[in-house]
Symmetry: C2
Subunit: 210 residues, 2 copies
DNA sequence: AAATGTGAAGTTGTTCACAGCT
DNA sequence: AGCTGTGAACAACTTCACATTT
């Protein structure tokens, strides 16, 4: 049986769902009750037809002649994305970037909470004052199982990234946001999202060249 | 005249170039001199044909029957990406995420240096000890011109993101790495790369749902 | 009349198959 | 013989055109 029981949905469409959700939140804050695909698409920076097509992957939510109910559409997107309830996330690798992300407070409002940090050498890292508890790697499997954590932020050095990933997978983690510049090898049912800030800059660098 | 005098290159191909470069650096560190498209592709997590196709956008760099020269291919990619020399980058918006990125030391080895930070209210932000000088927004145009800065990291609150973007563009910035969850409106010759960490988590969240 | 939902057409990006070097 | 380079086939994604609903 394939992983894709879900009617095949383009990954890009799911990304845009996140964008739409943010736009809807702003509209809601401005007191708007309904919005047309044209208006929402403009706010999201896409074509109206794309917005409508994206939504049809998940059902029908609009009213012809009228548009979409802001509240209702927000709710449905949150529901689809699984961000209706605060989801616990762990962070592994409390180095430079890791500590930076631990002190970043932008996840909570979006439905994610970094509930704990893990590192191979917790003594050396104690200096930094963190909001989250910091544990040794061996505490990982227990913590993940007990708290039912599904997602992890991986900010370890590249040379140990695969090894740590194996531990994460063995502990039951099924989603990894990977900051190490390496293609992690994971089982089919585990999802990896690669994020590389330097790479984003390189990409910019290329496209702005004279 | 179109912006695309450059033979149209898929943006994704440029991203992959960054991936290849990192793989090549590891190979070089391991003492390898040449590499086949198959080996490099495996390391990068893509198909060999895709790697070869990507490279042909920029020229011919391999030797048939032999493969690619690691050193030479690295050099050509760095050159294409414009990361041969250290590029100065500024950061605007020294809030939570902004300070986190300022303390992140992962850019320098990749060819980028955050040379200064800017904020609308530098007095309130003085508390944090930064490696980089912190200036008021009004110092921006002068600094950018004087130092020839081309790229900026934008980490201001979403409600002022567009306004600050306009200032950046007016000052001569042509590449923006935008962390605010909003589609910035910029002239055609300015490039924006959107990065949203919460969105990456949402995306993960969707795909790992049972 | 206004705006959604959607099959079909069009576009872009990926993979194949094999010709062409070394 | 081995491996790259590439036109052609294929697949994925986007846009169009318009039927459909309120």
């Amino acid at each position: 049986m394939k992983k894709t029981d879900r009617p095949v949905i383009p990954r890009k469409a799911v990304y845009r769902l996140s964008v739409y959700l943010r736009c809807l939140q702003r509209l809601k804050a401005n007191g708007l009750r309904t919005v047309s695909s044209e208006a929402l698409a403009r706010a999201a920076g896409v074509k109206p037809t794309q917005l409508r097509k994206d939504l049809t992957y998940f059902g029908q939510f609009g009213t012809r002649g009228l548009g979409y109910d802001v509240e209702q559409l927000s709710a449905m997107i949150s529901d689809v994305l699984g961000t209706n309830s605060l989801q616990p996330v762990i962070l592994v690798g409390v180095g430079n970037l890791g500590s930076a992300l631990l002190s970043y407070q932008g996840f909570e409002p979006e439905g994610f909470e970094i509930v704990a940090a893990f590192d191979a050498d917790i003594k050396r890292k104690r200096s930094t004052k963190l909001r989250q508890p910091l544990y040794d790697m061996e505490a990982l499997p227990g913590f993940v199982k007990e708290r039912g954590v599904k997602m992890a932020v991986l900010t370890v050095p590249v040379n140990v990234a695969q090894e740590v990933t194996n531990q994460l997978v063995a502990s039951g983690i099924s989603g990894i946001m990977n900051f190490a510049p390496i293609m992690l090898i994971v089982p089919e049912d585990v999802m990896v999202n690669n994020v590389n800030l330097a790479m984003e800059l390189e990409n910019l660098s290329f496209f702005i060249q004279p």
